[in-house]
Structure formats: structure tokens, C-alpha cells
């Protein structure tokens, strides 16, 4: 299963933060980036609910899903999210196929995962022509070794987040036309 997912086309960054700075950091990201749709991952169902509640109070528009909700509700939420009724989704680990929503151009690991497989499932895209996107990992002092381990195991590079992120790394216009070009060469 891991072979089918790729990190190609996803630019990965980390921000070094303390636990209590995470929400502040999220605020900064939401004030600086142009987000079409985003997915924010937490490590437990409780933290999903807590974060969703907290940021909703702060004026975010978000849905949440986690593994303890029943399947029908999950489907409903995910369907509505895919339709664009809501722009941001807070969730725990329940994607096994990689995210295949073209509009999602920003994925945030609010909690950094422990296993590289989890990381790949959250960030990876299925298929060779993955959409462009950025992944941002909030890394605490305790995560520092896991970060290295996951980088090594996946043979990828997670860079420190720069002051300005190049828009070309996550805006959709490149990708759409990339697929188009394939068509033209074939047809």
C-alpha cells in the first residue's frame, strides 16, 4: 500500500514550536497563506474535538471527523468537505489512500505522527501526478528525533519553514494544466 502513495509534488516544511504555541502558529499560517482547502491532523480523537472547538471560537470555519464517529456521519462530513461547503477539516488518522481532493493545497500536521507510515498516509498523494501542495508540520522538542527518523525512512526532506512561501509550490493552476498537457501529447 505504501508504494502507491507518493510525496512528489508536496513541499514539506516544519515549524519548531512549543505545545502552547501551536494554535498561535496555526493563526499565523491562516493569515499568511492562500488556502483553498486545508486538512489539519491531530494525534487523537479528543484533540481533534478540542482543536476544532477552540479554532471555531477563534473565527475559523471548520468541520471535523475522527475514528470514533460512526461511518455514516464520517461519510457525510467528508462528502460535504469535498463539495467545498466548508474549507477546513480537522481530523485524526483515517485516510488509508491518501487525500485525493484536488482543492486541498495545504495539509497541516498539528500533531506530528509517530510512524512514517502514518506520515505518508496523511501527506502522500495517490498516483504519479499528485496535485501540488504544501505540508506543514508543527514540531515540538519531543518530536525532534521522530522528525529525523521519518525523514530517513521515507527518503524525503522536511525543510524549516521560510518567511515567505513561494506560491508556485501550492497554487492549483500548474497542476490542472499539467494533466491537460498529457492529453494533448497523447491526442
Amino acid at each position: 500500500l505504501m508504494d502507491e502513495l507518493t510525496l512528489k509534488g508536496v513541499t514539506q516544511y516544519y515549524a519548531f514550536v512549543q505545545e502552547r504555541q501551536k494554535v498561535h502558529c496555526l493563526n499565523t499560517l491562516f493569515s499568511k497563506l492562500e488556502i483553498n482547502q486545508s486538512i489539519i491532523f491531530c494525534n487523537s480523537t479528543q484533540r481533534v474535538e478540542l482543536l476544532a472547538k477552540k479554532i471555531t471560537e477563534l473565527g475559523y470555519a471548520c468541520y471535523y471527523i475522527h475514528a470514533r464517529m460512526n461511518q455514516a456521519d464520517r461519510n457525510r462530513v467528508f462528502h460535504d468537505f469535498r463539495k467545498g461547503h466548508c474549507r477546513n477539516l480537522v481530523c485524526s488518522d483515517l485516510f488509508t489512500r491518501g487525500i485525493d481532493i484536488q482543492a486541498v493545497n495545504v495539509v497541516i500536521n498539528f500533531d506530528f505522527p509517530k510512524m512514517s507510515e502514518t506520515y505518508l498516509h496523511r501527506i502522500g498523494r495517490s498516483g504519479r501526478f499528485g496535485h501540488l501542495g504544501i505540508a506543514i508540520n508543527l514540531i515540538t522538542y519531543d518530536d525532534r528525533f521522530t522528525l529525523q527518523k521519518i525523514e530517513n525512512e521515507l527518503g524525503t526532506e522536511i525543510k524549516p519553514i521560510p518567511k515567505e512561501i513561494d506560491k508556485a509550490l501550492y497554487v492549483a493552476s500548474y497542476q490542472q494544466e499539467g494533466a491537460h498537457e498529457e492529453e494533448e501529447h497523447n491526442g
Partner: protein, 238 residues
């Protein structure tokens, strides 16, 4: 061109935050919030932000952003957004197309879709001084395939909105004039397949049969149809 003054960073941040969290359900409160944040001085900047950073890229939220304009009910903003949309379209039409810049083509297509929504769909005309679609298609044909690859999908995206307009839906003469040129293009034996396909998809959206269009034979005939104002040449001055 007058210079657009960007607001202080704090206002820029709050604007980005509002747009990042905007959806159909919170449109009204977010509108109020936006008005509060922006005050009266920065509508030109917001227009530029909306067109360049959002509408040109986020095709999936065009309806949302169009509804935003409606519920903000700020005349100045509507005027500015339209102006800004045309300004960006003109820049893209005049770029050097030999390199086949795919992101430029996607941006132009998105802006075409957006333009149709904020004009035709709201029963407002696209005036010839802003954009002459028929002339543009003919000009692109006479220039060659590279230009057609930009112009046909762009024009088709604009015209899509006619389907949902009381004034501009077929048989509106303005609409049919443009459709007939596209029909003529469609009959060209050498025409690229995906451009033909774009035209067929548009016809389907407008409930027209491609075969029933009435080409006037103007594509190749520069006596029958003379291009008054070239829109594609990048040497041109305002």
C-alpha cells in the same frame, strides 16, 4: 495606471484569514467582518487580492466569491473587481505565447469563467471596449494554433455563463454571433481535437447543436471581417 496602496500588514493578515475561512454558511458575518477590517480606504487593494490571489486560482470557489460581492453591496468594489479582472485578462492575452506557458493558460481560463459569472450571469453586458470576444477569436485564428489554445478555452469559459442568464441565453444575437464564429472554427478540418471538444461542451451547456450554428465565413476573410483593435499583440499600447 494608478498605484494601489496595500494596507498595513495586520489588515492584510486579517483579510487572508477571512478568505481562508469563508464559506456559504458564514457569508453574512464574514462580510461584516471584512467591512470592519478594511474600513473605507482599501477596496482597490481588496479587489486586486480577490482577483489575483483568489478568483484566478480558486476556480472551485467562484460562486462563493461572486456571492460575496453581492452580499457586500459595495458598488465601488464591484467596479474595481471588474476593472481588475479585465486588467489581468489583458496582460495574459498579450503575453508571449510561443513558450506555451501552461499556468498562464489555466489562469486565463479561470479568469474567463470568473468574468462570465460577474457579468453575463448577472445580466450585465461585457462591453466591447473592455473585451471583444468575437474579434479575439478571429484574431487568434489568424495568428495560429498557439493563440487559439489560449483564446478558445478562455472564450468558452466566459460564454458558459450565458446558460444561466435571462438576457444572454440563446438566441441572444450577441451570444449567437460569438457561437457562430466558434461553429465556423469547429468545421475547420485541421482544428485541434481538444479545441473542437471545448466548443462541443459549450454548445451542450447552452443547449445548442454544433451543426445548427451558422458560420459566416469570416475567419479567413479579412475583407469580410476586419479586426479593428488587435487584442493579442503584446507590442500594442493603451
Amino acid at each position: 495606471d494608478e498605484k494601489i496602496t496595500p494596507p498595513p500588514e495586520g489588515i492584510q493578515d486579517k483579510t487572508a484569514f477571512i478568505f481562508n475561512n469563508l464559506n456559504q454558511m458564514n457569508l453574512t458575518p464574514k462580510c461584516e467582518e471584512l467591512k470592519e477590517v478594511i474600513g473605507t480606504d482599501y477596496w482597490p487593494w481588496v479587489s486586486q487580492y480577490l482577483v489575483m490571489k483568489r478568483a484566478s486560482i480558486e476556480l472551485n470557489f467562484h460562486t462563493l466569491y461572486s456571492n460575496l460581492l453581492d452580499s457586500l453591496k459595495t458598488k465601488e468594489l464591484n467596479v474595481q473587481v471588474l476593472k481588475e479582472t479585465h486588467r489581468n485578462i489583458k496582460i495574459l492575452l498579450r503575453t508571449d505565447k510561443s513558450a506555451g506557458n501552461f499556468s498562464d493558460r489555466a489562469l486565463l481560463k479561470n479568469l474567463g469563467h470568473w468574468l462570465g459569472m460577474i457579468t453575463l450571469m448577472k445580466n450585465k453586458a461585457i462591453i466591447l471596449d473592455d473585451l471583444d470576444i468575437k474579434s479575439l477569436i478571429v484574431e487568434a485564428y489568424r495568428k495560429g494554433l498557439q493563440d487559439l489554445l489560449y483564446v478558445v478555452p478562455f472564450a468558452a469559459k466566459i460564454m458558459e455563463s450565458c446558460a444561466r442568464s435571462i438576457v444572454f441565453k440563446p438566441p441572444c444575437p450577441w451570444t449567437m454571433g460569438i457561437m457562430n464564429v466558434l461553429g465556423e472554427l469547429h468545421r475547420e478540418p485541421e482544428m485541434k481535437l481538444n479545441l473542437k471538444f471545448e466548443i462541443e461542451v459549450l454548445c451542450k451547456a447552452l443547449n445548442i447543436e454544433v451543426g445548427e450554428l451558422q458560420p459566416q465565413g469570416i475567419l479567413k476573410d479579412d475583407v469580410a471581417y476586419k479586426i479593428m483593435v488587435p487584442q493579442l499583440s503584446y507590442a500594442q499600447r493603451d
